[in-house]
Amino acid sequence: MEKTMIIIGAGAAGLSAALEFAKNGIKSILVSDMPSERAQSVMAEGGINAALNTESDSSELHAKETMKAGRYIADPRAVSQMTAAAPEIIEKLFSDGMAFTLDEEKRPDVRAFGGQSVKRTFFAAADTGKQLMHVLIGQVRRYEAEGIIERRTGWTFLKLLHDSEQAYGCVLLHPITQEKMTCYGKVLIASGGLNGMFGNATGSVRNTGAVSANLFASGVKFANGEFIQYHPTTVKLHGKNMLITEAVRGEGGRLYVLENNKPVYFMEEKYPELGNLMPRDVVAREEWLQMKQGKQVYLDMSHLGKEIYEKRLKGVIDDCIRFLALDPRKEPIPVLPGIHYFMGGIWVDADHRTSMKNLYAAGECACQYHGANRLGGNSLLGALYGGSVAAKSAMEDEDIMEPPSPLVSDREAKEQTAGSYVENWQALQDIMKNGLAIIRSEETLQTALADLDKLTEKVKKEYDTTATEAENQALADCCLLGKALLLGALERKESRGAHTRSDYPAEREEYQKQTIAEFTGGKIQIYFQKAGEQK
């Protein structure tokens, strides 16, 4: 059998993996429903972290701060390896022509980012992800022309081919023609976060979570699903949220709610010192408490003045006018917390091997590096580094065996009845949004679980003939994965990082572990284990 790797997803992690294979002369098939130019990675604005190893910084300090932000449940070995590799990654991007913002010496400049004691975030103005992807896409194009990387653009992952031991490949589906294609080989997943299961994430709507959910339903372990990073200032579009940069508050923007038609600056009242500039998770929680009382939170920047508007916040003003028909120089922006990143994901070890042989995962779809909360600037780094490590592991591992014949998929098509995919999907989003909102409790989680059980029963009976096979399957799989996330949040009886329980407000040492969810024998099992310990 020809040695070909299958990569699902062509964002930063997928391209990084494809390049690693290509440099070693290994062919890969790069599968994505849209070209890399449309991947969520192009949306990353902030930057990419690397310690310069100057007097004030080191990769050890970068690792320490990554572990601290993740509240010590990330895998320390994996984190140290990533931060050690970071400076070289930046240097390579620079020498590959990435248009970083430069300092006076014409070297990539750094800026300060939250949660980090030194400046170590490299950036390309406000479009770091776009400029980074531009470089990777160019390199991949070269290997495409040489026939080493083969793109299958326009195809989606339908299901994994596997038995109880290992993966043998996967089935792809063309969503328009309904054509199917079977690919045999080791499979590397780089399919992004679970945005679609919630509907209020700031990332791409194409990152539906369907691939992760299918793998979970196929018995692949999932970890830390309850850790979801919320950004405090997002605005609601239809089907997703859009980020309003922290810079608005940095420049003096104020958050308030109306009480008796008068503004109440709740952050400034409760936290007189830092006020609106408290850390993201604190601001998001305070907003949530206001919203629970039925109040709309506003972000006011109407007092900041022309110079700040023109020099520092022009992008925000343009975005509000373009997407909200609202001029923030004249009226406040209605904001709410929105999902910004999924720290949890497919369980992987430090070398990005999943719990199933011949299956690897990297980028936001994997659980690696960020623990209970992610440092800004670490996601692009994690995607690039993780993608290449996953590829190295796939090349190191023994070659795949011939699949036993006939290879039967573990789940058969259901009886067809009329249903509504669109309605059920929105119901799932509502349940997940409420259940895994910023503040959780036994009560809210149990309510969400009961609702999800009802929905799952409904979904089991229905097959919407106006939706594709992949969509019908994704709905069922995402209900299952959704339940696992809720159960994880229920079992974690503490507050840690991005997981806040009103009934268990303190961090508890016995939970300084990863949450593992596994679907075996038709049941979801949840347990806790130290990162880096056995599979």
Binding site: E37, A39, T153, S204, L237, T466
Partner: protein, 225 residues
């Protein structure tokens, strides 16, 4: 306000196109993309309109289509601003092969860059005085295809590569070290762009990123093309 929104639909390239009409009532402060999302959740939920979207924030270029005959990104245009006499027509791009409804096959954009060998083989490290700002801007191209749809000289499948490949070629040629690969790229540029461009610059006027396509072209033409 009430707006009549007509959507050109076609199940596949082999089937006949037809117009489906919807009536929108509201303040019009809704983007075309948001309207499509909503209509697919409601009126069209059992026969959803096929269209592409990703970021919905003008960063990925997926949702490019013809809105009242003009190529633009559906995510960044409000119904109220685009309605003409209370009407909006949504159509797929005309110059690319149709896939379904508002989705067209834009793979030619990416194939062309492959044929033109647009990549960096060896960076010219001797000179850091490049115009990084212009390189940065060229790197902001979304590859959405709006510039190609409006261009009087472009048709998918023909030799002319259009402005999106030109912007990419500029950056690769400027950054690449002197040598065979650079010469190949210049030759391809001459053949697939320079020989055809009629300098109408409709591409510049329609670019969602407002790329300085004239300045970029002036620069690349300066490389002794």
């Amino acid at each position: 306000m009430t707006i009549e929104i007509s959507v050109k639909r076609q199940k596949s390239k082999d089937e006949k196109p037809y117009i489906q009409k919807f009536l929108y009532t509201g303040d019009g402060n809704l983007t075309v993309a948001d309207w499509l999302t909503e209509v697919n959740r409601k009126e069209a939920k059992t026969d959803r309109i096929a269209w592409e979207c990703g970021c919905l924030e003008k960063k990925c270029g997926a949702c490019a289509m013809l809105v009242n005959g003009y190529p633009m990104l559906a995510c960044s245009v409000f119904l109220k601003n685009v309605a003409k006499r209370g009407k909006i027509i949504l159509e797929p791009f005309h110059k690319f092969p149709l896939i379904k409804d508002l989705i067209v096959d834009r793979s030619t954009i990416f194939d062309t860059m492959k044929h033109m060998k647009i990549w960096l083989s060896e960076k010219d490290s001797s000179d850091y005085s490049w115009d990084r700002e212009l390189q940065y801007k060229a790197g902001q191209c979304l590859q959405c295809g709006c510039c190609l749809e409006i261009c009087p000289n472009f048709l998918a499948g023909r030799e002319f590569a259009g402005a999106s490949a030109m912007a990419e070629a500029y950056r690769a040629i400027e950054q690449n070290d002197w040598g065979d690969h650079r010469n190949d790229m210049k030759k391809e540029y001459r053949k697939r762009f320079f020989a055809y461009c009629g300098q109408s610059f409709s591409c510049k006027s329609v670019c969602p990123q407002k790329l300085p396509l004239d300045a970029i072209q002036a620069r690349i033409n300066g490389f002794k093309i």
